[in-house]
Amino acid sequence: MILRPRISDIKNIGYYLGKITIGLGLTMMVPIVIGLGFREINPILDFLISSAITLLIGIILTRLCRTEEDLDWMQGMIVVSLSWLVAMLLGALPLYLSGHWKSYLDACFEAMSIFTTTGLVLVQDLDHLSYAHNLWRHLGNFIGGQGIAIVALSFFVKGTSGAFKMYVGEGRDERLLPNVINTARFIWLISGVYLILGTLILGIVGMSIGMKPSNAFFHSACIFMAGFDTAGFAPQSQNILYYHSLLFEAVIIVIMLLGTLNFNLHFQMWFGNRKEIWKNIETRTLFFTVLTLSFITAVGLNQLKVYPEAIALFRKGFFHLVSGHTGTGYMTIYARQFINEWGNLALVGLICAMGLGGCICSTAGGIKMLRIGIFFKALKQDIKKIILPESAVVSQKFHHIKDIFLEDKQVRSALLITLVYLGLYVLGAIIGTWFGYPFLDSLFESTSAAANVGLSCGITDASMPAVLKLTYIFQMWAGRLEFMSIFVLIGFFIAEVKGR
């Protein structure tokens, strides 16, 4: 028998959703400050309107649903899944008001891409977008990368077990510190320190390649936020090609790799456990897959003589492979060049890299390295079982922060999530093909959306069918939250309709 949700459930969900909405409204003040700095009047008005609407909704929700109760698992998951939809709908307001998006759906698409750190864009005339709106796009990457719910709660809530449920709901289940709020704050600390360092380095590189100092540092802050949070947004329409610099691209490769690493690994490194990076199953798997897929991509590009020089092969082939694998989506070629020039083998290498994704507990999407590593270990264990005598007891260990014995339930859970991801990639590809796009193009774009990468082969465009836009929005949302909280939300609605 399905039980219909109680009023107290809805009140609890509404209350925490309200808090997150208030948090979102307050973050809209940051672009206002930037707008004031650059004297951009209409963008300031866009953000004042959007912030006021968002705060009004948040305050009304918290007042109407006022409660002292903590969240249970179901409520926590629903708050998370709904908060990303609310963030999309309200975060799209300033974008739409700017007039640089053709429709509200386009603005919503971009907002979902921003918060899920995907990087697919529908903006028109990006080169004339205001500093305030550009900052909002990149700040959104930074907020979304940490997790919308947990960002809001780490500032507005003092120690709650409900926060842990939301932390898990946002696709993370590793705590760096015993208290999840402290974990979230530590993630902020890591990101903040890297932000200062990264902005400084990229800013200096920017000036050295001839950019004006103000532009160099604005761009560097934006590029860092979008690079470290594996989002792939950039302030100019050419993305990273705008800078025409090997040094700039090399720094970005380092930032992308840092962003795709597990925050737990950063934590270990910060506290002196540097050996962890060499021992950890995720970094080993990442190293192996980057190497293998780089080789496949390079062979593919070489066969067609796409880049007949090593430096070009590095700057185009390896750069995009790392960009796809880390889930960032930075580009130094035009979208159609993938299809027109790269050839099938190189594209397959890149699609695989995008699908595999980065490390768990990072800002990257995709299947993730821990799960791939577990598959390898399980395979090794099974082969050992076949080779060794039947009486032999075969155990398999892997190292992830500590030594862990491989169990069937870990393999099952990894397999389940992997299957759902693969299903999501294929679903988008089928819908893309339905609308007349070639299958490989559709699979490329679908994998990019569902694994929150943001590389595009040209399908993502303001003129694409609305159903396809909605499909990609769903894929970005589901891929970022790793499905569980979305399944709970669906279950909640079913219970509301069918429950007693």
Partner: protein
């Protein structure tokens, strides 16, 4: 006779290089990059973003309304460029003639144009922002509502707390 021949050849050369050289769009160049690779093309658009000096050369990015393409030029050719496009400015409109590269060997595989000639066809300008009054009015109304809701919710909270006491 010889003079006439020379004049004819010069005339034809000008005709081919200038008059018949209609600008090619960025879409056309990107879509058919292999076809245009290594050929002289004419491309037209607005200079956007930064003018990035690299020793005696310079990178500019020129947007034709669909895509922006990197233009590699000698510094002195870009002397006339005064405005570059951004939120508060409309960049100079330029027409460039140069060699198109699908994957430039000199620049790490970038799709770019190495120019031989640049002409400014329209001057850019600083764009004066006009206040959108409808937005301004909505901002006032919504901020007023927000203030009102905050005051009301504080009154309600205070009355609730005193009732509890």
């Amino acid at each position: 006779m010889m003079k006439k021949m020379i004049l004819l050849v010069i005339g034809l050369w000008f005709l081919v290089t200038n008059c018949f050289a209609a600008p090619i769009s960025s879409e056309e160049l990107i879509q058919n990059a292999r076809e245009y690779d290594g050929k002289t093309v004419v491309y037209k658009g607005e200079v956007i973003g930064d003018i990035m000096m690299r020793k005696e050369f310079v990178w500019i990015n020129v947007n034709d309304g669909v895509n922006a393409i990197g233009i590699w030029s000698k510094k002195d050719l870009t002397r006339d460029i005064l405005y570059t496009g951004g939120y508060k400015s409309r960049g100079d409109m330029v027409e460039v003639r140069g060699i198109f590269h699908r994957a430039c060997l000199e620049h790490g595989g970038d799709l770019d144009i190495h120019i031989e000639e640049l002409s400014k066809i329209d001057s850019g300008m600083v764009v004066t922002e006009k206040i959108n009054f409808a937005k301004r009015n909505w901002a006032f109304i919504l901020l007023g509502m927000l203030g009102l809701v905050l005051i009301l919710s504080n009154i309600l909270r205070a009355s609730g707390a005193s009732r509890e006491v």
